[in-house]
Symmetry: C2
Subunit: 405 residues, 2 copies
């Protein structure tokens, strides 16, 4: 008998029939001889409705009250899921995040999990019950309701799997798993059976939106293997786990494209120590994450600095940089949208060479201009024109033979 | 400076604009120099929607899970109300029933309040904050969410007023106060300025649905005066309080009609000790509340027993009585719906005579037949035909000059 954590996202519990489907799947897992702990999100649509009501009342609603408001979403789902299981004669009991013993810090809307007291959860499982826990939420030490921020339900599932020492953690979602590329763009993209935490993290930060990096990092830290799979069929998904030697045989695992990028060019910076630091300090103060960075030496002791930021951060980034440019004479800042970042990812890169050459050749053959390059141990990213992004994804996918297993 | 508890029901917070109105009223009360604790219900419609979803999944959903499900209704309202107050620059903080320290027993869906730890609430008020508490809900000693049953938000308000030693408790609703009769039936019915707990209790149990008896009883027990008034205007409402001598000058205070009644006739009962007790024991075992009772001696040592029950209890009552009739030979049970109960109520009845005569004469003059009679110290009730109920209400209201103050 195994202890299994199953997490179902907002679309998987989106309406009453889908909640019934979830109940059937949980029952089947339990009938196969497992103890099952279920983590559910708010039904899709509920959170958006509540956020929009709050914004009608106040353009910048209080974060504590937003946590109070939004946690009702999962609370509805846990109760309805428990009732759906009862209808199938499966003993089940629901728990809010706080009741499940998920203790967080005080940072409303983006709290961090401090600890989980899994005592009651293990007791309920030992009594033969399915336990349904509200994802995304916890309480701080004063008993105030907190939320874990975007993707928080995945984090809840992984953290609960750690707390109850689960044998398996399954993340049910509306996709079949992790693909070598976005199947809507690359028709012959292939679902991967297995992927390392590192690769998953690089893919997530490169625009593959299957899962938030925080949950992957947490799983990595505690060595929890988990599976990403679809709640709409019985196909096996993608297993995310620690590295094994054989994984290095495949050099490139996947191609990810992030279309949510803008390029910022700061020109005419004095080429003296400290001027670049000033720019990035200003961006850090404004809470802007900078991704790729290139600095060129220009004429007459002036440098050009180019970097990419998330499209959402563009205006904040421009404001921050413009603010300090006043103190650096004759510099200027220019924003270029319509940028996409394409990344190839694979742990095998560490021990193989020639990846960059293959990537650049494939893009050159298709006349796709590379504007910026950045690399990590297991990733190469390039910034390209947004309108070439899909084509680039297809030719790179082909160049690395990713359609073949 | 006074401490004021204000309770707003489901229609008073029914949409975003009404929540804004509530916020404005709370702000005005606070600006007048008061500390304000607000109790709110679920927005009208929310509870019904959730109940219907649960019933789609299970015809008889688990009570613990129903409490988990339905408490989201008030949780939404407290957060939105706090946000609406922030938009008016009023410091405000929300509290679920559990966070407000409302500790109940373990009876899900109908829990009783065991105690309220008002410590945090008083702290927040002392900091100058408006505190918004979710009505209808509490937690038991194990931290499980419970609800207080129908009308529970009124009970929450009264109990919180006791806990924080409030000077005034205002129950805002969609009617202007307590009337001498239902104004939809009796156009010249008059709003009463003041009414005693006893009268309010008798009116409530006689079909005047302004407030549930439990909340009134709680206020009575702890001597909390409260006002029932409209959230849609600034008119003063009806003050509910302990008895004062001058109140006896008015003999009849109001007329209430309960149209939710059925009459049950058990005929041919052996007129021997114990046969009536058998009937009522069976009804008690089936949890049926019996209201008016009349027993006639019939021919040949057989008695007829007639009583009224709530329409909702009819089939349970019939089943219970039929079950024991098998053991009492040649008895039969008959149910007659279409019954209404009309009651006249007033503490002055204790010291005045002739009330029954006035009541019976008024009905007789209009050819309205009285089927059953029951009396308490401050009430006389009669069962009449349902289709005569409205007319009866009008003639009785007139006979006691209730349109004149």
């Amino acid at each position: 008998m195994a202890v299994v954590v199953q997490k179902y996202g907002g679309t998987s519990v989106g309406d009453i029939n889908r909640i019934k489907n979830v109940a059937n799947r949980v029952k089947a897992t339990r009938n196969a001889g497992n103890d099952v702990l279920v983590v559910v999100s708010a039904r899709s649509g509920v959170t958006n409705r509540l956020v929009s009501e709050a914004k009608t009342l106040h353009e910048n609603p209080d974060e504590r009250e937003m946590d109070m408001l939004l946690t009702v979403g999962e609370q509805e789902t846990i109760a309805l899921t428990a009732i759906a299981l009862h209808a199938l004669d499966v003993p089940a009991v629901s728990r809010t995040g706080g009741q499940a013993g998920i203790i967080t810090d005080h940072e409303h809307t983006r709290a961090r999990i401090l600890k989980i007291d899994g005592h009651d959860l293990r007791d309920q499982l030992a009594k033969g019950k399915v336990v349904i826990v509200a994802g995304f939420q916890g309480v701080n030490k004063e008993g105030q309701t907190t939320t874990l921020g975007r993707g928080g339900s995945d984090l809840s599932a992984i953290a609960l799997a750690v707390a109850i020492k689960a044998d398996l953690c399954q993340i049910f979602t509306d996709v079949e798993g992790v693909y070598t590329a976005d199947p809507r763009v690359v028709p012959n993209a292939r679902k991967m059976d297995v992927i390392t935490y590192d690769e998953m993290l690089e893919l997530a930060s490169s625009g593959s939106k299957v899962m938030q990096p925080r949950a992957v990092e947490f799983a990595y830290k505690y060595g929890i293997n988990f599976e990403i799979r679809s709640s709409f069929n019985n196909n096996t998904g993608t297993m995310v786990k620690g590295e094994m030697e054989s994984m290095e045989d495949v050099v490139v695992r996947g191609v990810a494209v992030d279309k949510n990028q803008a390029k910022i060019i700061v020109s005419g910076l004095p080429d003296v120590p400290g001027s670049t630091a000033k720019v990035f300090n200003a961006l850090a103060d404004a809470n802007v994450n900078v991704d790729m960075i290139v600095q060129n030496i220009a004429r007459a002791g002036k440098a050009n600095l180019t970097f990419t930021v998330s499209l959402d951060d563009t205006s904040r980034a421009k404001k921050a940089v413009s603010g300090i440019l006043d103190s650096i004479s004759r510099s200027s800042v220019k924003i270029i949208g319509n940028i996409a970042k394409l990344s190839v990812v694979g742990v095998g890169m560490r021990s193989h060479s020639g990846i960059a050459a293959t990537l650049f050749s494939a893009l050159a053959k298709s006349n796709i201009n590379i504007q910026l390059i950045s690399t990590s141990e297991i990733k190469i990213s390039v910034a390209i024109d947004l309108d070439k992004a899909d084509e680039a994804c297809r030719v790179v996918h082909q160049a690395f033979d990713l359609d073949k297993s």
